[in-house]
Amino acid sequence: MSTTTLEGFPKDIVVADPAAGSVTLTVDVAVYPLEAVYGAAYIFIDRCYVLLDRPQGGAYSVTLTPKAAATTDALRSMVGEFANELLSQAWRQKIIEENRVILEAVTTQALSGAMGPPTLDDLAAFDFTEDSFDDPLGIAMSWEEKYRKKSPEEAAQEAAGAQPTESKP
């Protein structure tokens, strides 16, 4: 098997096999996870025959053989597209990994919400004995409760607690 380099690509990363009409890329395992290689390769199976291999421990090789006869320029373009797709897939994998916890939390909430409203049995079993929440501004008070006529004791207490106002000369 005689191989040649492909103009514009490093010879240790991309080599072409004119006899087979194929091109082989070497992909660093540390940079691109297998899922990204699968994803990029899968996108190309409508245009190429794709064979993945692992010739060394630290690298995958991706051999692309176009289904139709391809010129050198077409091969170069295809390799460039594959490299871009590989980067895109690797980035997507990274985002998925970073957001996995959030995705799982949202999914769990959505599923628990989809279970529907609580039944009467659920409400009967619910513990309502918790302390009432703090409401310093009286937002949760009813109008009647807030503006009812105060008793003389309450009025005196409120006046004692009120801040003194400036008197006019």
Partner: protein, 70 residues
């Protein structure tokens, strides 16, 4: 005789077997295990047909490996 080598860490043996099953009516396909690879040998009426079946085998195995559907 044409052969394709599928690395074990990339292709589950069930994916390779599934691809062989799908294409065995087009050529004689034999699967052997050699070191880190599942090796499939393809024998058909002509070298061109062998190569075509071997190439299709690669895509089929990749599809099955990716989907993990056997």
């Amino acid at each position: 005789m044409t052969e394709r080598r599928f690395h074990r860490s990339i292709y589950d043996v069930r994916a390779v077997q599934g691809a062989i099953k799908a294409l065995e009516r087009f050529a004689a396909l034999t699967l052997t295990e050699e070191g880190e690879h599942h090796v499939v040998r393809v024998a058909a009426k002509s070298p061109a047909r062998e190569r075509r079946v071997a190439d299709e085998l690669c895509n089929h195995a990749l599809g099955l490996a990716r989907r993990e559907v056997f």
